[in-house]
């Protein structure tokens, strides 16, 4: 390779490489180092010990919270997928006019513009005991007195998070559905297969990579959320990110927080790795 080319490559490469090294690799490395430090009143001091990890794995509260968070993340992803899939399907296969399709697509992405906090906050107004939903249900006679089951519990968190993260589910599903050649569905119909079966045995399997991508994204976003528990969660709403935040705040126990963050990172990484495998699988098929 000649010198000029090498220089050109270096120029293109060095900013992103430097950036990723300095702001991604180094921070994670320091995070790792911190996780071995030790809390010492009033702050924390360098050390090399596994106490933080021991604490995480022996105190059942961490396990419980992680499990709860995983559960909530799962239901959020599932719910978002259930809402997003038909929507994306409709856009790709049912809407003929490209203009309308684009509008409807943007309609899903657009709420991202409005503050997450505000959007989540309005759910309080909607779901509360004296909220819009209760008023509506009472005016229609479905309920005789306001119900408090809609707000301040895990379901409310799940609904809110589904709402907030739907765009991240619609985008990849839409992308993958759009890539499925129309002729595959026609071929299936041609072979005597009805539309429902065609959906189940052709369209759905082929859209799995998109679902997986959206699922991963939604799952990981939920996994790291600490706002919803605060806004619409009930007394059983604490999630792992809240615990981590409180280690960096209230407890001023950054080492434990770092260790928790690393545990979270590991969980997320393994989820990404698994889902990557899935997506790869799907991509190979179109090759």
């Amino acid at each position: 390779m000649n010198g000029a080319l090498r220089l050109k490559r270096a120029l293109v490469l060095s900013p992103p490489l430097l950036w990723t090294f300095l702001f991604m690799f180094v921070p994670y490395a320091i995070l790792l180092v911190y996780s071995f430090w030790q809390q010492k009143y009033p702050t924390f001091v360098p050390a090399f010990q596994f106490g933080n990890y021991v604490q995480i794995f022996t105190d059942p509260q961490y396990f419980r919270v992680i499990l709860r968070t995983l559960k909530i993340a799962f239901f959020v992803s599932l719910g978002a997928a259930l809402v997003a899939y038909p929507y994306a399907y409709f856009l790709v296969f049912r809407v003929r006019k490209p203009g309308l399709r684009l509008m409807l697509y943007m309609a899903v992405v657009a709420p991202l513009w409005v503050s997450y906090l505000l959007r989540a906050y309005t759910w309080k107004t909607i779901l509360g005991t004296t909220g819009i939903l209760n008023s509506f249900l009472m005016s229609t006679g479905i309920l005789s007195e306001p119900s408090s089951v809609f707000l301040y519990n895990q379901t409310a968190m799940i609904v809110t998070l589904i709402y907030v993260f739907i765009p991240f589910m619609v985008m990849p599903i839409y992308a993958v559905l759009e890539k499925i050649p129309h002729s595959l569905k026609e071929a299936s119909a041609d072979l005597g297969v009805g539309r429902v079966r065609t959906f189940l045995s052709v369209t759905l399997p082929l859209s799995i990579p998109g679902i997986v991508a959206g699922f991963t994204m939604t799952f990981c976003l939920t996994f790291g959320d600490f706002i919803a528990p605060f806004l619409v969660g009930g007394p059983d709403g604490q999630m792992i990110a809240n615990v981590i935040a409180s280690q960096f705040g209230a407890s001023l126990n950054w080492p434990l927080g770092a260790a928790l963050a690393l545990v979270m990172l590991m969980i997320v990484l393994s989820i990404i790795t698994v889902s990557d495998k899935f997506e790869r699988l799907g991509q190979g098929r179109f090759a």
């Binding site: 050649p181 002729s183 595959l184 026609e186 071929a187 299936s188 119909a189 041609d190 072979l191 005597g192 297969v193 009805g194 079966r197 045995s201 052709v202 399997p205 082929l206 799907g282 190979g284 098929r285 179109f286 090759a287």
Partner: protein, 364 residues
């Protein structure tokens, strides 16, 4: 084709029209196809071939007109209920299913037991010589192999009619030629009715029992390959199938009978035109008898010189400068005659029986 044996007519298309908004895709076409026939729809891009085929397959709802399949009106029957199968241009193999599962897909979904499906799929794959790739994934196959799997999948349910939308266009020249032969062999072997769409004239000539030449959503001419090649009705058909030297001339009365002027040189007029009439005439490059040297002559002979030479191996195409224009002639290279040279004087003998009278173009 005898019009009075309804039993053998597997497809009857009556006044079929399809419009997309303002675009007319297919324009009032009527056509019938015999049981076991190999019909090719030939025409340039956008002439409505695919649209016609897709209406037969049920993928496109006709704007008006009827389609009868084996005597039954199927105009509004969905594709899944028509005994017609299609081989798609992009093959449309299901990427998530193995080759065997692709072929067996239609049977499986119809509820046939697994074992039987496997058997039938293997059988169909054997027909296209791919029984050993049963478990392969489609993306592991070459283009030609995918093509064959698509074929196997389409024939596994023994459809009454097999539709093929440019099945070979994605293959390279050598492979395409090979697949043409195989496809034709398959047609003979299975006795199925084939309707093939192509815009490759050689493909159409090689494979078909009957060629339907389309243009602008209408049928321009149909007939056997020889019919179309030897007796093209219009200048358009003549130009689309094979090469033609075309010239316009008024028929005059010459010393030996009616004559026409081919780029300024008189030759005998073909039968069917009368003196005084003006018409478009044409002859095929390979029909002219080529003689080199100054002296060659006699009646019906055009004199000129070699302007360009295109070597094709088994033949040589010469561009002959006639002074007032240029014509192409093909020289078979079967002998061991030397190659002609640019500038060589040449005489072309074009018999009246070699000259075609072409109708004036009407359709757009």
């Amino acid at each position: 084709m005898p019009e009075h044996t309804p039993v053998s007519k597997i497809i009857e298309i009556e006044n079929l029209t399809k419009t997309f908004g303002k675009v007319v895709g297919v324009d009032d076409i009527s056509l019938s196809v015999e049981q076991g026939e190999f019909v090719t729809l030939l025409g340039p891009s956008g002439c409505g071939k695919s649209t016609l085929l897709r209406m037969i397959g049920g993928f496109e709802e006709p704007t008006s007109g009827r389609i009868l399949l084996d005597g039954q009106d199927v105009t509004h029957v969905p594709p899944s209920k028509r005994a017609v199968n299609m081989v798609f241009q992009d093959y449309a193999l299901f990427p998530h299913l193995s080759v065997g599962k692709n072929v067996g897909y239609g049977l499986r979904v119809a509820g046939m037991p697994r074992r039987e499906v496997r058997e039938k799929a293997l059988e169909a794959l054997a027909l296209v010589g791919l029984e050993d790739r049963f478990d392969a994934a489609p993306h592991m196959l070459s283009g030609g192999q995918r093509q064959r799997v698509a074929l196997a999948r389409a024939i596994v349910r023994r459809p009454k009619v097999l539709l093929l939308d440019e099945p070979l266009s994605a293959l390279d020249a050598n492979l395409r030629e090979q697949m043409q032969v195989e496809l034709k062999a398959l047609h003979t072997k299975m006795g199925l009715t084939f309707i093939l769409v192509t815009h490759d004239q050689t493909e159409a000539l090689t494979m078909s029992d009957r060629i339907v030449v389309m243009r602008g959503g209408k049928i321009v001419q149909m007939g056997s390959p020889v019919d179309l090649y030897e007796r093209p009705a219009t200048s358009y058909v003549a130009g689309f199938i094979g090469s033609t030297n075309q010239f316009r001339s008024v028929v005059a009365t010459g010393p030996t009978g009616p004559q026409v002027q081919c780029f300024g040189q008189p030759i005998s007029a073909p039968a069917g035109v009368a003196p005084g009439q003006e018409a478009l005439f044409g002859f095929r490059p390979e029909k002219a008898l080529v003689q080199f040297g100054e002296e060659g002559g006699g009646p019906d002979t055009l004199r000129g010189s070699v302007a360009d030479i295109l070597y094709h191996g088994q033949s040589v195409r010469l561009m002959i400068d006639l002074g007032a224009g240029e014509v192409l002639v093909d020289l078979p290279m079967s002998g061991s005659d030397g190659m002609p040279q640019v500038g060589d004087a040449v005489s072309l003998r074009v018999g009246a029986d070699k000259i075609m009278v072409l109708a004036d173009e009407v359709a757009a």
